[in-house]
Symmetry: C2
Subunit: 345 residues, 2 copies
């Protein structure tokens, strides 16, 4: 907990002003609670027994549109509505889940929406975006999607960044807020990290609790731009989308604003591709839920962290989404990971 204590001190001095840009999480929660699902928190007795710790899962795969992202998009749009500033047009780029969330939220307000999406994103996610009535434009690369969306925003559309929009981040924070509200206060929370939005939201929610709660970001070792940035103190950028089965974490680089907050969290954990696949399959097997590889990062990170703990811990892994396409399933189930039991060592 010492890291977090240090962060708390920092927060009360030099960085306080920066934190003010975020509203209190309960405001976002009150705003969106009627339109999102209060997703369940579950645990696996078998896994707890094997690992000797208490591991809880917040199941955002059951959230509307199949991921936590909708909490952010909805909080952003309702906030704008409260200020009578609902835009006539919305634009976003996405590796999939953010696009679905924005398309769905915009549909609730009948706002014209365009989503730029690299063509490598799963057809299932693209179909879902289409089904919410958004205009979907394919690009060759992630970078092209970013450039096109930014240009589109320059022509007057309201831009919702996939991981760095203040109100979206406060929206993401409501996932952990729900957990705390239910009375569960973990020692540490593990979040998948792409652009860092969920991690920062989780950090903000944890900061509002009286108890010290560590927050960790978990990245694929193949897509570790934020971990490198955290380690070196300087934002690292990939030129092209890194190759990882955790397709929600294929971000090129984090924003300056997100970096400011990501520096404060308790740490980054990097996971190999094999371990991401292994834990994805085990989450599905143990919990009987569909789990994206990106979402399984959080359990993979938690287990890696738990291996270094000397006493029993209570941790929360956020299962960020459950949008898996057939090709991904085929890849995941190629190996018989199920016949290799998890262990703490």
């Amino acid at each position: 907990m010492s890291l977090l204590a240090k962060n708390n001190l920092e927060l009360t001095s030099s960085n306080l002003t920066k934190n003010v840009e975020f509203e209190s999480v309960h405001i976002a929660y009150d705003r969106i609670k009627g339109q999102i699902k209060e997703t369940p928190v579950i645990t696996s007795n078998l896994l707890n027994e094997i690992l000797g710790h208490e591991i809880y899962f917040k199941l955002e795969n059951f959230q509307k549109t199949g991921s936590f992202k909708v909490r952010g998009a909805l909080n952003t749009l309702i906030s704008l509505k409260e200020k009578n500033q609902l835009p006539e047009e919305i634009v976003a780029y996405s590796s999939g889940n953010h696009g679905q969330a924005v398309a769905w939220a915009a549909k609730q307000f009948n706002i014209k929406t365009t989503i730029y999406i690299p063509k490598f994103v799963s057809q299932v996610k693209q179909n879902a975006i289409n089904s919410y009535g958004a205009n979907l434009i394919n690009t060759d690369t992630r970078k092209e999607a970013e450039i096109a969306a930014t240009a589109h925003a320059g022509r007057g559309a309201y831009f919702i960044h996939p991981s760095s929009h203040e109100n979206s981040i406060t929206g993401y924070a409501t996932a952990s807020y729900e957990v705390f509200k239910s009375g569960l206060i973990p020692d540490a929370i593990f979040t998948p990290c792409g652009g860092g939005g969920l991690t920062i939201g989780t950090y903000l929610a944890a900061q509002e609790q009286k108890q010290a709660i560590s927050v960790y970001a978990v990245e694929p070792a193949n897509a570790n731009d934020a971990a490198i940035s955290y380690r070196t103190g300087k934002i690292f950028a990939f030129e092209d989308s890194p190759i990882t089965i955790a397709d929600g974490a294929r971000t090129l680089k984090i924003t300056e604003k997100n970096f400011h907050y990501l520096k404060k969290i308790s740490g980054f954990i990097e996971i190999s591709e094999e371990d991401i696949a292994y834990w994805t399959v085990w989450v599905m097997h143990l919990l009987k839920i569909i789990c994206e590889p990106t979402a399984a990062l959080s359990l993979a990170g938690a287990v890696k962290w738990l291996r270094e703990q000397s006493c029993k811990k209570k941790v929360l892994a956020i299962i960020s989404g459950g949008n898996v396409d057939p090709q991904m399933h085929r890849n995941l189930w190629l190996e018989d990971y199920i016949n290799r039991m998890p262990s703490l060592y």
Copy 2:
């Protein structure tokens, strides 16, 4: 509803005596409720919109040991305990889920247990049985498992039939009982049918309600022994385990006792292998849960039935289990069923 009304009449006359062997479902519920999960009931707005009906899912994939079977095994053992008749040894044969349920329930009472299981049953299910401490004996065929278990029972062990034990059936009935208790009274319930235990349990629970509720059994067209028996009025038996991806429905034949009750239900629906796979994948995609092909039979049957309805219906599909092994996943996700949307026609 006319079919059911007819059945009610029958029940009050000649068949009443036969029905007495079953306890009232609430007795079983009160007996086991502290040790099982009250599983959730969910719906998919998208599916309801597409089909124009209200379809609810009872999620027994989240039940302990991953299927509804544990309700029966537990009710059987607690009943015996109440009568001070807990056996020293238990024996069962199983295509997997019943074996897991019996092994788990027996472990709660520290009773020595042997499960005979054909070697073709998934390794994941066999591993689970082992992990509950039961003695697992592999046989070449289902028939050999039945013969060996029966012989073993002859040597003094207490035998729990996989689908035809009275207290187990009343235990299975508690799944629907929970649904009714929550206030949801569907027009019809669809159950996968192997040996018929879940179907009969569901029928018993429905009979105890004031409202008329139709109960349907859904079988693979490839493993339709009970449907043939229902149609012809004479029990039909397969020589060898029929080939179907719905591995929980590979029963050779139903018992005389089960046939007596299965005759009373509203009907049988048979599903092709392709449709079983299609709906398994769609249940996973829509609900973000792991669903056995056997469990998806219930939705497949419901959709087939809904196609013939002239007005809007409210139906319940029991998702009986979620134990899927890697090989099954690989087979299921070979086809891109997800890109072919469901339709009512």
